[in-house]
Structures are given as structure tokens and as C-alpha cells.
């Protein structure tokens, strides 16, 4: 029983990271109906920025904040410069552009920082607490994720820009008529998503170790989490991410050999989707003819 609880908690810690990245995917999807396949590689690149800042001698939290700011600006720039030209192109063209971004970031990271696996410092000491149910590292990751969510929620709920962004996502035409600069809102959305991804990357790097392929698996689980929750629902992304984290951990520990963990976890998620094709919290799209 103790072992099972332990696995559930470390699943939740992984789930917190999947949930963050899932949230980033959902934010962009809600605003532009585009799945950003480069979200994981953008996060990986941000983590490298944090890594070089820490190596340059900055204290961890200062490097963390600075990385978030750089990622935010970088995300905005990507939207403005790279995504904007295919905004009105066929869906597949936009998908290909994000796949191109995956290759570019991966290759650039390998070029600048080499493909050698690097240690990444953790701000939290790694020792068991609460009767050895959970480590402080896992607790720290969950805490940072929850704090970030609280901030995001407050931003969207209580600030004028947050309201404008929700309007721009829900109905771009009307929002534009109300004087909301929809294009700028989209750019801010990409910036926020990049910053959220950066947080996820920095939180996961001490566990997975840093290399250019670090986020590939994480992105897949995050994608699965986002869809499991319903790609149009932010709450769904959180719950979905957590479920995916716990499922993955339990399947890997109790059911099958680890080399098939990914396959079985994905198969389970797909099985759920067969019965709930719009995710647990998503709404079925009703089309007017």
C-alpha cells in the first residue's frame, strides 16, 4: 500500500509537468486551433538558456526568472515572425511549420550546447518527507506548478489583458470590432505558452537530465494529457496531465516491462478516447449546416 501511494505521488509530480506543457498546448490551440508540435523543443531550448545562466554564476531563482522573461519574448517573436505568415494558409502548412521549428530548435541546441547529457541543478533538496511518501523534489515540482496555475488563473480572471485574450480566442471578429488588437493577443498567448513550457522544462531537467531530446517524450505525454482532458479545456489539461502521469507510472511499475511503458500508456489513453472522443472535459463540436 505504501509503495502504491509512493508511485501515485511520483506519478503526480510527473503529471504536474505534463499538465504544464499540456496547458501551453491548450492555450495555443484555443487561440488558433493549431497544435504546436514545437512546444516541447521550445521548452528544451529555454531549459538550456537557464542552464547556461546558472553556469554563468547566477543564483537558481534569478536564472529561472530571467529564463521565463527571455522565453516569453522569444515565444512572442516566434508567433510574430514565423507563425504569422501561415496564419491563413491550409492547416497542414501550419503543422509543417511547427514541425520545422522542432527540427530547428533541436538542431540548434545540439549545435550550440552539444548532444552530451548534462546535469541540471535542482532548487529542491532530494530527501523523503511525509513518512517517505514523497520527496521534497516532487513536492517542489507540484508546488511550483500550482503556483504558476494560480498566477495564470488570476491573470486571465482579474486583468484587462487577460480578459482581452479570452475575447480574442473566443471570437476574433467581435474582439477586433471592440478594439482588441487580436494579433498582439495571439503573440502574448505564444509568449505565455513558451514561459509555461520553460517552467516545465526547468522542473523536469533535474530528473530527466538535460539533452536536446529531453522533451520529446514529455511532449507526447503532455499531448495525450491535453487530449484526454479535452483539447479546448484548460482544466481538462490539468486533470488529463495528472491522470497521464499517474497511469504511466503505475503501468510501468506494476503491469509490464518498462520498454513497452510508452506503448501501453498510450494505448490506454486511446482506449478512453474511443469512448469519449472529445476528451473528459471537452465539448463535442456541434456544427451548423
Amino acid at each position: 500500500m505504501h509503495g502504491l501511494l509512493q508511485q501515485i505521488f511520483s506519478g503526480l509530480a510527473a503529471g504536474a509537468i505534463y499538465a504544464s506543457l499540456a496547458l501551453a498546448l491548450v492555450m495555443i490551440y484555443r487561440a488558433t486551433e493549431l497544435v504546436n508540435f514545437a512546444q516541447g523543443e521550445m521548452a528544451m531550448f529555454s531549459t538550456y538558456i537557464a542552464w547556461s545562466l546558472v553556469n554563468a554564476g547566477l543564483p537558481f531563482w534569478a536564472a529561472f526568472l530571467l529564463t521565463l522573461i527571455v522565453s516569453f519574448l522569444g515565444g512572442m517573436a516566434i508567433e510574430r515572425v514565423i507563425i504569422r505568415p501561415v496564419e491563413n494558409a491550409p492547416v497542414l502548412a501550419a503543422v509543417i511549420v511547427t514541425i520545422a521549428l522542432v527540427l530547428i530548435f533541436n538542431s540548434l541546441a545540439g549545435w550550440i550546447y552539444t548532444y552530451t547529457v548534462q546535469d541540471f541543478p535542482s532548487p529542491f533538496p532530494d530527501r523523503p518527507v511525509l513518512g517517505a511518501l514523497i520527496t521534497t523534489q516532487e513536492l517542489g515540482v507540484i508546488g511550483v506548478t500550482l503556483l504558476m496555475l494560480l498566477l495564470l488563473f488570476s491573470f486571465f480572471r482579474f486583468t484587462k489583458t487577460g480578459l482581452a485574450m479570452r475575447a480574442a480566442a473566443q471570437n476574433p471578429e467581435s474582439a477586433r470590432l471592440c478594439g482588441i488588437p487580436v494579433g498582439r493577443m495571439l503573440a502574448i498567448g505564444w509568449g505565455l505558452a513558451a514561459a509555461i513550457g520553460a517552467t516545465a522544462g526547468i522542473m523536469v531537467a533535474p530528473v530527466l537530465f538535460l539533452d536536446p531530446y529531453m522533451m520529446a517524450g514529455v511532449l507526447l505525454y503532455a499531448f495525450a494529457g491535453a487530449l484526454l482532458g479535452g483539447i479546448s479545456s484548460p482544466v481538462g489539461a490539468l486533470v488529463g496531465g495528472a491522470i497521464v502521469g499517474v497511469t504511466e507510472n503505475l503501468v510501468g511499475t506494476y503491469l509490464i516491462p518498462t520498454q513497452l511503458k510508452l506503448t501501453v500508456a498510450l494505448a490506454l489513453i486511446i482506449l478512453v478516447l474511443v469512448f469519449r472522443p472529445h476528451g473528459l472535459f471537452g465539448t463535442a463540436i456541434v456544427q451548423r449546416v
Binding site: 490551440y29 497544435v35 514565423i82 505568415p85 501561415v86 494558409a89 491550409p90 492547416v91 497542414l92 502548412a93 503543422v95 509543417i96 511549420v97 514541425i99 520545422a100 521549428l101 522542432v102 527540427l103 530547428i104 533541436n106 538542431s107 540548434l108 545540439g110 549545435w111 507526447l220 499531448f223 495525450a224 487530449l227 483539447i231 520498454q259 513497452l260 510508452l262 506503448t263 498510450l266 494505448a267 489513453i269 486511446i270 478516447l273 474511443v274 472522443p277 472529445h278 456544427q287 449546416v289
Partner: protein, 355 residues
């Protein structure tokens, strides 16, 4: 019958002729010229380049398969590398364990991939957009793992080594050139089948479902049946390409069938022109040559260059090379070939026929 009518009828006949030949005849001449070039080419270049062109043909067949599903039917698949792997392993296991001759592995590979595609297409009916992308993405990611796991069939991590098939001794050409012609023959057959399917009733049904599923259903199109059929046919093509690749390369291993392969097919499809048949050929060239080209330009970050090439293509031609240049080319060809002396534009005809 008035005299005026016969004159306009003759005009109309002339109007559909370009440089004295009908549009169909021109199309045939173009196609035959292309085939002649494709048949003569291997004798002008080195064996290694012949091998590269054979890979172009194989990728073309795979992309053509993906085009049927993604381009014509609008179902985005990120997992066609998985079906390519199934085709390749079917051929490899049949040749290696059962001593089946290489050419005889193509029909079973086609059949297995068709059945798998239909089985996969049934649950896929419930998924749309990003959900289908996830399901197929999961398949692409799972493929290498599953291949490694069932190692008593697949040879696990080591893969299966195959003896490359020999050409018939009478022909007097070497192995690479012979395999090139085998692949070319399969490609021509595949294009013929795809054209017959897509330029007729089935193709129209697929496009209608892509553009407006509800309206298509209201017109009496059986959406479920056509979507599953599109999935099966698409994976059949890709599986045959996989089987060809097994004996052309002479080796199969799990690491050849990663997510990257699936993404390459999608990239080739989008860059060539998604709902076009000839676009697949351009896609095949892109998949085979652009990575090498990027590598030649920069050792340090070749994939970044590949990515930049993808970006530039998508910015310049968001509908793909054929999708963007095709209509423009057709228009200027018509303009160039069409001699006003032979009978005016088609609108002129219409105007003269209507009283």
C-alpha cells in the same frame, strides 16, 4: 440546321485543340516523355545515384499513399511510418524465414497493410483533427518499441539482413539498376491505380467528405465506408513502399522506422502538394535529397537547415509545389499553346452558340 451553327461547332472543336492536338494528347505526350526520361536516366548516372533515385521512387509511393488519406480525405496521419515498417518487415520476414522470392512479398505486404489500415481506420472514424493526430503519433512512437519487443520474429535491435535480389541474367544490368526498374514499375502501377480511384466517383466522395462531412452524408455518401476505404488504400500504398524498401536497402531494423520517418512523409506530402498525385514525386525528391543537401552545406546543424527549407517552401507555396505552381503552369501553357487563329477562347464559343 443553320449555317451559323455548324461553323461554331467547328470552332468549339478547334478551341479544345492546342497546337493541333487535343489536351489529352498533350498530356499523354508529356507522361510518355517523363517515363522515357525515367527509364533512360539510370544508364547515365552512377550506381549510387541510381540507388538514391530508387529511394525517391519508394518515398514517392509512400507519400502518394499518405496523400490519399491526408490530401484527398483530410485525415492527418503522423503514423504512416508504422505502416511502412509493417510492409518492410512483412517482406523481410517472408524472404528471410520462408524463402519467398522478393517480388512475391509485395502482394502479402499490400494485403496485410490494407487490412491493418481498415482496422485502424474504424476507431479513427470517431476521431477528428488533433485527436487523430495523437492516435497516429502514438502509433509512430510505439513502432520501434514494439519491433524491438517481438524479437523472435523481428530480430530485435539487430534487425534482419537480407540478400539483395539479383536481376534476371538475360538483361545484363546490375542489381541497383534492376531494382530501380522494379520500383519504377510499381510506381507507375500505383499512380495509375491512384489516378483511376481519385479522378472518379470515389475521389469526389473523398473530397466531399473532407470539405463538408455533413453535406456529403446528406448527398448520400457513406462517410464511414469511404473514410475506412481511404485509410486502407492509403496504408496499402505505404506498405508496398515499405516492402520495396526492405529489399532495395537489404536491411530492416527498428531504428529505421522512427517518428521522424512518419513526419518526413507528411512533410513530403505538404511540400509536393497535398491533394495532388504528381506532388508525391516532388515530395519523394525532397525527403531523399534535401537532408543530404543540408548536410553538405553545414555539418554543424544540418537539420536546422532542413527546417529552414521547410519553412521557406511553406511560405512561398503554402499549397505545395504542385498545388501552387500547377494551376499557374496550366494557365500559362494554355495561353502559350493556344493560337487565337484556330478559334478564340472557350468563352467566345459559348457566346456564339447561345443565340
Amino acid at each position: 440546321m443553320s449555317k451559323g451553327f455548324t461553323v461554331t461547332a467547328a470552332d468549339k472543336l478547334a478551341a479544345s485543340q492546342y497546337g493541333g492536338l487535343s489536351l489529352d494528347a498533350w498530356r499523354w505526350i508529356g507522361t510518355l516523355a517523363l517515363i522515357a526520361v525515367a527509364a533512360a536516366l539510370p544508364f547515365a548516372i552512377s550506381s549510387y545515384h541510381v540507388f538514391e533515385l530508387t529511394m525517391v521512387i519508394i518515398y514517392t509511393i509512400a507519400v502518394l499513399g499518405l496523400n490519399i488519406l491526408t490530401g484527398y480525405n483530410g485525415q492527418i496521419s503522423l503514423g504512416h511510418g508504422g505502416f511502412f515498417a509493417v510492409g518492410a518487415y512483412t517482406a523481410a520476414i517472408l524472404m528471410h524465414d520462408y524463402g519467398v522470392p522478393y517480388w512475391a512479398t509485395l502482394p502479402p505486404a499490400a494485403l496485410i497493410c490494407f487490412v491493418l489500415g481498415v482496422l485502424f481506420g474504424l476507431p479513427a472514424l470517431r476521431f477528428e483533427g488533433p485527436y487523430l493526430a495523437l492516435v497516429t503519433l502514438a502509433m509512430a512512437v510505439a513502432t520501434p518499441q514494439v519491433l524491438k519487443y517481438f524479437d523472435n520474429w523481428t530480430g530485435g535491435q539487430q534487425g534482419i539482413n537480407l540478400v539483395k535480389p539479383s536481376p534476371p541474367p538475360l538483361l545484363g544490368i546490375d542489381r541497383d539498376r534492376w531494382l530501380y526498374f522494379v520500383a519504377l514499375a510499381v510506381l507507375l502501377l500505383a499512380i495509375r491505380v491512384a489516378a483511376n480511384m481519385l479522378n472518379g466517383r470515389t475521389g469526389r466522395a473523398l473530397v466531399a467528405i473532407r470539405d463538408h462531412p455533413i453535406a456529403a452524408a446528406a448527398m448520400g455518401i457513406d462517410n464511414a465506408r469511404y473514410k475506412t476505404l481511404a485509410f486502407g488504400t492509403s496504408t496499402l500504398f505505404t506498405g508496398v513502399a515499405g516492402a520495396l524498401s526492405a529489399f532495395v536497402v537489404g536491411f530492416v531494423a527498428p531504428e529505421s522506422f522512427t517518428l521522424f520517418l512518419s513526419l518526413s512523409f507528411l512533410v513530403g506530402s505538404a511540400i509536393g502538394g497535398i491533394a495532388t498525385i504528381s506532388g508525391a514525386i516532388i515530395g519523394g525528391f525532397f525527403i531523399e535529397f534535401v537532408p543530404n543537401l543540408a548536410n553538405d552545406i553545414s555539418d554543424a546543424a544540418p537539420w536546422a537547415l532542413y527546417g529552414v527549407a521547410m519553412l521557406l517552401f511553406m511560405y512561398a507555396m503554402p499549397r505545395g509545389v504542385v498545388g501552387t505552381l500547377g494551376p499557374w503552369l496550366a494557365r500559362s501553357m494554355r495561353h502559350f499553346l493556344h493560337r487565337p487563329a484556330l478559334g478564340g477562347s472557350e468563352e467566345d464559343c459559348e457566346r456564339r452558340i447561345t443565340p
